[in-house]
């Protein structure tokens, strides 16, 4: 079957059936009224042929729903433009050689989970000696001087450490957050850097499961990395980007 790229619908088991599943809770007593409320709410979301497949009581006047429906909306794939960080990663050896040969000094990276976030999984995956999924973290690279500040670090401390160690890169990780505080927190870091006239001194990167490159750019970062990013992707980006920036300052353009 030919797929119409201009009209992509959700897929259940037949092309264009538009089938979606969702689940949510309502602050409503469990019962027929609750089920009907869930069905109507799903209708307001634009779903058709809504079926409340399951509902249950959560106690204290709350109830939970699993809902199926047909979503008539579609997207036009041909209109989508994605800004993505260059992912054609070099490997560990290539990256070290690249930095050594082109820059002649190790690059300094300060990493932290800022604000309220206590989850260092993502940061550790990128920074720690051991790395993640068989790929060494930045600490292992002879051509990176990596400072992992750990979790729940205030933005101001990240900045003062970055200044102190003359960092090239600030790497922020945001994993688990409550009520979207991470967005405020990321914006706040950019504002602080700008207020102190330091924004241009650092390559500013953010990573985390709810982060996209596009969102990072919107927030005023240089790059964003989402779930499943491995250390060499970040390391390659850092090496190439800093080389490119140096290049633009000192004359010869960087390799692209």
């Amino acid at each position: 079957m030919q797929i119409d790229e201009k009209r992509i619908r959700a897929y259940g088991d037949t092309f264009n059936d538009g089938q979606v599943q969702l689940s949510f809770s309502l602050p409503v007593e469990h019962g027929p009224r609750g089920d009907e409320a869930a069905r109507i709410l799903a209708g307001h979301m634009g779903l058709e042929e809504v079926e409340v497949a399951f509902s249950r009581d959560l106690g204290q006047g709350f109830s939970y729903y699993i809902v199926y429906g047909r979503c008539p909306s579609y997207v036009d794939l041909t209109q989508i433009q994605i800004t993505q960080v260059e992912v054609e990663a070099m490997d560990y050896y290539e990256i070290n050689r690249f930095i050594e040969e082109r820059m002649g000094r190790p690059l300094v990276v300060v990493g932290a989970c800022t604000g309220t976030d206590a989850h260092t999984v993502g940061l550790d995956a990128i920074m720690n000696m051991k790395g993640y999924a068989g790929e060494y973290g930045l600490e292992r690279y002879p051509q990176f001087e990596a400072y992992n500040m750990g979790s729940q670090v205030p933005n101001s401390q990240v900045i003062s450490r970055a200044v102190e160690v003359e960092a090239d890169v600030i790497l922020i990780s945001q994993v688990v957050t409550q009520k979207n505080v991470h967005l405020e927190n990321l914006t706040n870091l950019v504002e602080l850097l700008e207020a102190e006239g330091l924004r241009e001194k650092f390559l500013l990167i953010v990573g985390g499961p709810r982060i996209s490159h596009e969102m990072a750019l919107e927030l005023g970062f240089d790059a964003g990395f989402g779930s499943g990013t491995l250390p060499p992707q970040v390391a390659t980006y850092i090496a190439r980007e800093i080389y490119r920036r140096q290049g633009s300052q000192s004359g010869p353009p960087g390799e692209r």
Partner: protein, 524 residues
Amino acid sequence: MEKKLNLDEEKIGRARQAAASIAEGIMEDILPRTTVAVERAILRLLGVDGIDIAEIPLPNVVVEKVQEAGALPCGVAHWMGRTILATGKDPQEIAREVSEGNLDILDQPLYSDEEIRRALEPYVRQGLEWIRDQRRRRDKFLETLGTGPRPLLYVIVATGDIYEDALQAKSAAEQGADIVAVIRSTAQSLLDYVPYGATREGFGGTFATQENFRIMRQALDEVGEEIGRYIYLVNYCSGLAMPEIAAMGALERLDMMLNDAMYGVLFRDINMQRTFIDQHFSRMINGYAGIIINTGEDNYLTTADPFEAAHTVLASQFMNEQLGLRSGLVEEQLGLGHAFELDPDREDGWLLELGQAQMAREIFPRAPLKYMPPTRYMSGDIFRTHLVDGMFNLVGVISGQEIQLLGMPSEAIHTPHIHDRALAIDNARYIMNNARHLGEEIYFKPGGKIQKRAFQVLDEALELLEKIAELGLPRAIDEGWFAGISRSPQGGKGLEGVVDKEEHYFNPFLEAMAAKREGTGHAD
């Protein structure tokens, strides 16, 4: 419990001995000294509460005055006792007047130690009596309402608003939770005071305050009576205000407390000298109040490699056991922590997890072990997370864990939504009910993968403990043997709050709690 791993009892004995000698080394550093937080806890137990016009808690106001004058080596009880004798006022009035600048507790007539103790006696007795009453209330509830079957299901709430927390906690209890922990607001462990009053805004959690403890206790008692099951309340007795939180928890009838100095040292960079002293008094209070402590060694595996470093968890459990016993706790109060953190993609990883969990159960047969869910390899794939949590629940029921902290499907995304908690509880209830007595039906193959893993972890833990016993725990921590994190004895936060006791020093609560323990074997 039937033993199935065929562990070498002689090695377990040697590991315990090494841990005992490590604990003795730490106790030698603890006993001659006190801290600002210990002294503030004494004031709280004497009935001092509230804040001044700058919103500084009164226990801080008084202890800071004494410390600034260099008079803390005598202990705050000494100065308080003298002021009671001279003014006839009670500790709360005295603290209030000190905060208003109307009274100087350092400028009071001299009395004999004997007279000072006698002046404090009624307040000490009142504080202790209150804690014993709370303990009796708990016992009564446990007797009349009972609890859920083991493993007890432990969930967290973390809305930041204590009133919304209370609602979610009641909902969780109705869904089947046995234990509710209120996650603390981020970085509260680094506050060298305890915030005051009911709070409705937090960061990633809710502030631990005495009023919040009271609100949550009341909510859980209410729902417990409705559903006919006692619901345990948990908070965090850790960080720079550790002993004060123990005092508050004892007064407000918390049932469990995370209470582990090592966690603060490694993961919050709290000074180790400070926090071991704080831990001793806080554990004495928890012991006296009948509170189960939860230790935090499971966290090591969130930074160190979960396969290679499994023995550091066991080694730390041995040390926490020995330290705990020396701080007035009995085995039944030692909720030693361990975790299910191996990479789910590892072949036979689940067998190794089962071996490790069973090992902890057999080595600490009387301890209410706290088994921690997978977090390290979780992603936004909530469906896979839910399944991995199910496998974890299966290990918990087979190996007879006491406290099962439930993983949430949305673990790697956000603090739990109300239905995430319901799904997690359903998962655990289904598996634990459906496989309730599986553990009693199976043996492990002698010399098989499960037994071998337990042997290996025990061997490595023993070797590590014997090395630490030679070197001393502070140096082992300094060299980064735990969680791959290095902390020095002089580094970290809070060392300025440590002082040497002088000869007139006394801590009336510590003395009474220790005497009680010697008298009866333990504090009931």
